[in-house]
Amino acid sequence: MQTAAAPEPSNYLNVAHTVKSWLLTRDHKRIAILYLLGITFFFAVGGLFALGIRLELLTPAGDLFESETYNKLFTMHGVAMVFFFLLPSIPATLGNFLVPMMIGAKDLAFPRINLLSWYVYMIGGLFTLAAALLGGVDTGWTFYTPYSTAASNTHVVLTGVGVFISGFSSILTGLNFIVTIHTMRAPGMTWDRLPLFIWSHYAASIIMILGTPVVAIAVLLVALERLFHIGIFDPNLGGDPVLYQHLFWYYSHPAVYVMVLPGMGVISELVAAFARKAVFGYKFVAYSSLGIAVIGFFVWGHHMYVSSQSIYAGLLFSILTYTVAIPSAIKVFNWTATLYKGSISFESPMIYVFGFIGLFLVGGLTGLYLGAMGLDVHVHDTYFIVAHFHYVMVGATIMAYMGGLHYWWPKITGRMYSEGWAKFAALTIFVGFNLTFFPQFILGYLGMPRRYHMYPPEFQVLNVLSTAGATVLGVGYAVPLIYFTWSFFRGARAPANPWGATGLEWQTPSPPPLENFTTPPVVTQPAYAYAEENAVA
């Protein structure tokens, strides 16, 4: 910092340096950074649990941890990763930073609520962390009854309270996005000019608002049932344990689209920027986000084919599961078509895009195996499922998240990072990821159940491969942590628009000034108007 020749122009980072100016900030950009720190912390926590899991599974015998410890490891891994890392990851960091900028607003509609949502998130996180430190919880991230209500003697209530609280953070973020997108667009920023990133965040926000409260009440009822022995989910008292599964998946299936939709938005931006070309079929990509969000609410029963749910309900959920795959297909094909006649460059964010497409293909297409009732019977609750959801959640979404971070990093921090290291990390992650999770498909079809502390010896070789991959993957994730930190303090100054991209966020200095734009923007063109200057029509 001391080497800067001319005094830096005033921006949101250097206007104030006190801790208080951060902790009481209402600037969406600073809140995004607060979130970034929280999320990275929980990713590291979840990652440590994952390493514990993988180390234990190196050998068939349960020799590293007690069974109970292992069960707590995967539960807390799932809880930390899903509720405290992946759900908020892209929306709360990149979304928070970019939604107002992309539509030309000075801030989100409710800045105080935005700050509140971060505090709510952290408080929820602390509850869950406290539960982990006090001895942990062992129900699996799904909290199935009656195990969670009547059998487990771990900190279910404390964890549940943490999840419940963090749900409100998600609701507040979604609410803020929807209101902002509706009421704060700059003059000329009509709906058909919105960047696709905005569309996908809008769609994800709908899910946050309409889904989250249902899982909140489900978890609340679990807590009440544990505390007061009310019988809503307890078959011994006349309740129905499967009702809990309905309530849980009513949210948790759409929630997987909360995890992937913002990532898809990132990919649309990146594909356009690095092919210097408007996204093919803008309208289809935009509306497919809404399609995924809405149809996503109709398919939850595909998690319950063998739960004793009625076969007819299963049929309904199965056919709808297949229809929700179509909007995803539309997106993939349109991204591919966007590359056609583009001007494609291969900076690190684009490498992540290629990674995303590859891993999302595997993850999404394996979803089709699970939607088929007859096939899901065999692979349900095996490592096939574990592999499927890591491909979509970790493979696809984290690739998108990393791609987005690399793409907007210069805007967020005003600094560049080392391109060489960035490419190295991207490749390491890709290789490590596939090595970790591809063998799990095979394991799953062989029949290795999930949540198994010990397993029959014939499964060992594939598990060793997986653990080896996880090590590579861990390194791949640690490297960006290092060069990003370095870049934040020491990196070369970034220009306003290092990629030559369109979009309002690139038309303001890096890092942006306090209220985002020095002059209020007026929009006159659709998104991604690349060829406009040398248009041949």
């Binding site: 499967v242 009702l243 007819y312 309900a313």
Partner: protein
């Protein structure tokens, strides 16, 4: 896009709505003393829906609210409907196949 300033409803309207709600409350208690079999439930629900609509339309000004607000309202109802109908797609068809647990 800017809406004109808020709609201020006349006090008289509020009084009328209140009285209607009061009457409906007595009505809903009253009809439980009439045995209509299964229809008791539907009558009670019908009255409740009617009362809720009055509150929403007049006390909450939904009648004069922007379209978007009305859409939000209807959407939330729709999604409750999805939750209920799809869960009941399970409960109502259990046992239909005549094979336990299917």
């Amino acid at each position: 896009m800017v809406e004109h300033t808020q709609h201020v409803a006349p006090v008289r309207l509020y009084v009328v709505v209140f009285l209607a709600l009061l009457v409906l409350t007595f009505l809903t208690v009253g009809v439980t003393y009439v045995d209509m079999g299964e229809y008791n439930l539907f009558v009670a629900l019908g009255i409740a829906i009617f009362k809720a609509s009055l509150v929403i339309l007049y006390f909450m000004h939904a009648r004069w609210s922007p379209r978007l607000v009305q859409i939000v309202m209807l959407t939330s109802l729709l999604f409750i409907g999805i939750l209920a109908s799809f869960s009941f797609a399970d409960y109502l068809t259990r046992g239909l196949l005549g094979v336990p647990g299917r």
